[in-house]
């Protein structure tokens, strides 16, 4: 069985918030603000794909990504943890504002690959948090989709998937082909990979396609989009710091309570 895992690079999420800026022109953070890294949920999806390969549930894994040239790093990482193939749809911007357009691009590429039976995606991109692409791809493929999955096993010939539900974990039997979006879990921390694989990954070819090659020139891509990003800004947060001076902890607590009451943040029973 062939599985495709959808990847995305996002701006380093450890960038200190006060350093975060938006370029009003592009409506994105300016280039070079911080490194672009493989998103955390995509790391989980990649790890799950590799685990499925190790347990023999799938035979081959292809990593697929739409992003700027530098995003090839994420594909190298996928190859370094033993993905079999890597496909890069080269677009200039880090992402497209409308997830439908991204889904359209990925779908066009999936249709060109050896037909997969399983598509894995992160539950949402860690930057804009739309959480749509996996579901949109499933819709276009007319496949079932299961969200927030963290474990998949084949038991008695059936594919069983565990997902985080509102009331705890749920287990589903899944009929293939299917799309799953993957959530974070301690068992899905992306492995380090050994150095031999890392060096081999640097020599492996990455298939690159342009949107045009996939039949999605600017016009087609525009037609696929329904949403337009009208405005984006960093909310202003005002911070005020006040130190409570006191001799000992008991006095400090009393003073703190008084002050909180004064600010009407808390009311003590009479």
């Amino acid at each position: 069985m062939h599985a495709v895992v959808l990847l995305k690079q996002i701006l380093d999420w450890e960038l200190p918030p006060r350093k975060f800026r938006i370029d009003q022109e592009t409506k994105r953070p300016p280039d070079g603000l911080a490194p672009a890294l493989l998103g955390p949920f995509e790391q989980n999806a990649l790890e799950l794909a590799i685990q499925l390969k190790e347990t023999g549930v799938v035979e081959r894994v292809t990593a697929l990504l739409a992003g700027p040239p530098g995003a090839a790093d994420a594909l190298r990482k996928a190859l370094a943890v033993r993905c079999d193939d890597a496909v890069h749809i080269v677009v200039e911007a880090p992402d497209l504002h409308d997830p439908s357009q991204t889904a359209e691009l990925l779908l066009a590429a999936i249709r060109r690959l050896e037909p997969p039976e399983l598509v894995l995606a992160g539950r949402q991109a860690g930057d804009w948090d739309h959480g749509q692409v996996g579901h949109l791809v499933a819709e276009r493929l007319r496949w079932p989709v299961l969200g927030l999955v963290w474990q998949v096993e084949r038991i008695d010939g059936r594919l069983l998937a565990w997902r985080s539900g509102v009331y705890g974990s749920e287990q589903f039997a899944v009929r293939l082909p299917a799309v799953m979006t993957v959530t974070s879990h301690s068992s899905l921390r992306l492995r380090m990979g050994n150095v031999m694989d890392l060096m081999a990954a640097n020599r492996k070819p990455i298939t690159t396609w342009t949107p045009e090659e996939l039949g999605l020139g600017p016009e087609e891509l525009a037609a696929a989009g329904r949403l337009e990003l009208a405005d984006v800004w960093v909310p202003e947060v005002e911070r005020h710091c006040e130190l409570i001076e006191a001799e000992d902890p008991a006095e400090a607590v009393a003073a703190l309570l008084d002050r909180l009451e004064e600010l009407k943040l808390l009311k003590r029973p009479a």
């Binding site: 380093d12 450890e14 200190p16 350093k19 492995r191 380090m192 050994n194 150095v195 031999m196 060096m199």
Partner: protein, 675 residues
């Protein structure tokens, strides 16, 4: 004088010994030599499994080190066992010399055992040294069987047999002498005082005839014991009488210490650390057979002291035994013969190497096996994996840091180095390192140092966001591939900026920039801020205001002291500040690690056991100091966290500070600017 040192003075050899006994003696000697040869050949087979090693460079330094070892320099650093060993060691050589004299005189027929030489050396000196060996043996028995220090390896009955046979050899030797003196009325008996005393006591026990009959049997026993010892030598730790001095000769003669051997990632078959004997150099395999099992390394190991599953002695002995048993097929060594928990517990502090009397290098073996765990088996502790992922993604090891690389210098008039021309006008380029960039406490070190530099009018610049981690935490955790990438890009940056003189407040950066980047073509003059500030003070460029005296103690960072031999500069600085400096029991080259080295700053384990930093903080507090001063951002963090674990009984609250913070506090602001 002449009749005292009579020319005809000599003694009988093989007196009263029958031909049959002589035949038995030579036969047993032959067998002993064969067994000995076989034992050495077995060891040799193991050494040959190793890779090539360079051991003939810096010959002078190597010979000096070897002679110092033979003179028992390191051994004597530990009083009682050192004294014990020196007694047995020197005595043994003298006794061996005496045996050779007999051989030359009797077997080769060169009459040298005569006259003054016979009386002074062969009689008096040999007698006295024999007594010293007995004294040494007494101490050894007392230590091993009464004191029983935990670090001593116990291998019974082999240990008792070895010590016992040496004891018997010496005792039978004295008995032989005593009998001969008593039965032959030796006119030169007084030249052998112990022999003379023995003869008197033997004379009371039996008559001359009985003694004469017993003599050949003592003689045979004496020599057979010798042969047993000789044959056992290559099969026991006693082989160290040969391997130890040679190992000191073969060991790394410096001057740089603890430099990790680079890995050639362009090689056809890349060797990823140590996992089999063939991954080690022959010199490393040889060193395993030099171990005397003395346990000094274990006694000083901070990880062992904190109850972690690591003993450097066990690492050496388990490798030795594992490889002796299985030869080329021994393994996996990394994570098999040596447990992963042991390998990850090491802080690479080099205390074990510093104290080892036979110059065994434990750390390259440990780091080598870590390299295998990390690069081939991809089996590292979770937090090491996260640290490496962080290095890969962000080029610094501080996961979740809330600052950027240049935040520390906000509001300070610090110049960023842009061009090669600028570099030429500078006194130094100040290398900040990741700690002072990403750790809020350590940022204060950089700010303090900058205020001192500005005060003294030093022309300096920083590389700001062009700096990357030197790679030290990657290298020490065995992630050499990631280290290699970082080292190469830093060298490229430094070359591109024309940097030649570097100042750093981080001993780990110091070790990298000063020594380890050489393998990547990076050659710079690198100074630690203790050396730099100390010379500024000497030049009168720092004006200090008087202040209240404070009692301080200095903690020697491993990478500053043991790795780079900088011990005095920080102390010189403290001595001109308004401080009263006291020393901890373990200081300078015997300093006890803070627990951060070897990448541990990023994966200090929370196994609930005692922390190394806590032990060190307690030691600092016990001096009565209110501040423990250091010269490393990682030690600072560790000592601060250790100080937080101190209880009220252990003394008043202890602060941890970098010495340059004290200097900055003491600057005379009225006199700022060069004097």
């Amino acid at each position: 004088m002449n009749d005292v040192l009579a020319a005809e003075a000599t003694r009988e050899v093989q007196w009263e010994v029958t031909t049959a006994m002589v035949v038995v003696m030579y036969a047993s000697m032959g067998i002993a030599l064969l067994v000995f040869g076989y034992g050495i050949w077995r060891l040799f087979r193991v050494w040959r499994l190793g890779r090539r090693a360079a051991v003939w460079n810096r010959l002078g330094a190597r010979l000096r080190r070897m002679l110092a070892a033979i003179a028992q320099a390191t051994v004597l650093r530990r009083r009682l066992p050192g004294f014990m060993h020196a007694l047995i060691f020197y005595g043994w050589w003298v006794l061996l010399g005496a045996t050779c004299v007999v051989f030359i005189d009797h077997d080769l027929g060169l009459r040298i055992m005569q006259g003054a030489f016979y009386l002074v050396f062969q009689s008096l000196i040999v007698d006295l040294f024999g007594a010293l060996v007995l004294l040494g043996l007494g101490i050894a028995f007392y230590r091993r069987y009464v004191m029983r220090p935990q670090q001593l390896e116990h291998r019974e009955p082999a240990d008792a047999l070895l010590l016992g046979s040496i004891l018997l050899i010496v005792l039978t030797g004295f008995a032989l002498e005593g009998i001969r003196i008593a039965a032959t009325d030796d006119p030169w008996a007084n030249w052998s005082p112990i022999g003379a005393v023995t003869s008197l006591s033997l004379g009371r026990l039996a008559n001359d005839a009985a003694l004469t009959r017993a003599y050949p049997w003592f003689w045979l026993t004496h020599l057979l014991l010798w042969h047993v010892l000789l044959a056992a030598l290559p099969f026991t730790k006693f082989v160290h009488v040969f391997t130890s001095p040679l190992n000191v000769f073969f060991s790394d003669p410096g001057p740089a210490k603890g430099v990790v051997e680079p890995t050639d990632f362009t090689a056809e078959a890349v060797r990823l650390g140590i996992n089999a004997p063939a991954d080690m150099t022959w010199r490393q395999l040889f060193s395993l057979d030099a171990c005397t099992e003395c346990g000094r390394c274990e006694a000083v190991c901070p990880a062992h002291a904190a109850g972690k599953p690591l003993s450097p002695k066990r690492v050496i002995l388990d490798l030795r035994d594992g490889i002796r048993a299985a030869g080329a097929n021994a393994g996996p060594l990394a994570g098999g013969v040596i447990a992963p928990e042991a390998l990850w517990a090491c802080t690479t502090c080099r205390a074990c190497e510093e104290v080892c009397p036979v110059a065994i290098e434990h750390v390259p073996l440990i780091v080598g096996m870590r390299q295998n765990l990390a690069m081939e088996q991809a089996a590292v502790p979770t937090r090491v994996g996260e640290m490496v992922a962080n290095l890969e993604a962000r080029e610094h090891p501080f996961r979740g840091a809330s600052s950027g690389r240049t935040d520390w210098m906000e509001g300070l008039p610090v110049q960023e180095l842009d061009s090669i021309e600028e570099a030429g006008d500078l006194d130094v380029v100040y290398w900040i390192g990741c700690a002072a960039a990403f750790d809020e406490r350590a940022q204060q070190i950089a700010r303090a140092l900058v205020s001192v530099l500005l005060h003294a009018g030093v022309r300096f610049a920083v590389l700001a966001s062009k700096e990357r981690c030197t790679g030290d935490p990657a290298r020490r955790t065995g992630n050499e591939y990631h280290y290699d990438l970082l080292a190469r890009s830093n060298v490229e940056t430094l070359e591109g900026a024309g940097v030649t003189r570097i100042l750093t407040h981080c001993p780990h950066c110091l070790q990298q920039l000063r020594h380890e980047y050489r393998a990547f073509g990076g050659r710079y003059e690198v100074v630690h801020h203790s050396e730099f500030v100390s010379s500024l003070i000497e030049q009168g460029r720092v004006r200090l205001a008087p202040g209240a005296r404070e009692r301080v103690t200095f903690h020697d960072p491993c990478y500053l002291g043991r790795y780079n031999d900088v011990f005095e500069a920080p102390r010189r600085i403290l001595d001109v500040l308004p401080t009263e400096r006291v020393e901890m029991p373990r200081s300078r080259s015997e300093s006890f690690c803070c627990g951060a080295g070897g990448g541990h700053a990023f994966y200090e384990d929370d196994d609930g056991g005692e922390k190394i930093s806590g032990i060190r903080a307690r030691e600092a507090a016990a001096t009565g100091a209110t501040t423990v001063v250091t010269g490393c951002p990682f030690c600072l963090t560790m000592l601060e966290s250790g100080a937080r674990t101190l209880t009220a009984e252990q003394g008043p609250p202890l602060r941890a500070r970098d010495f340059v913070e004290l200097v900055a506090d003491a600057l005379d602001s009225k006199g700022s600017g060069p004097a």
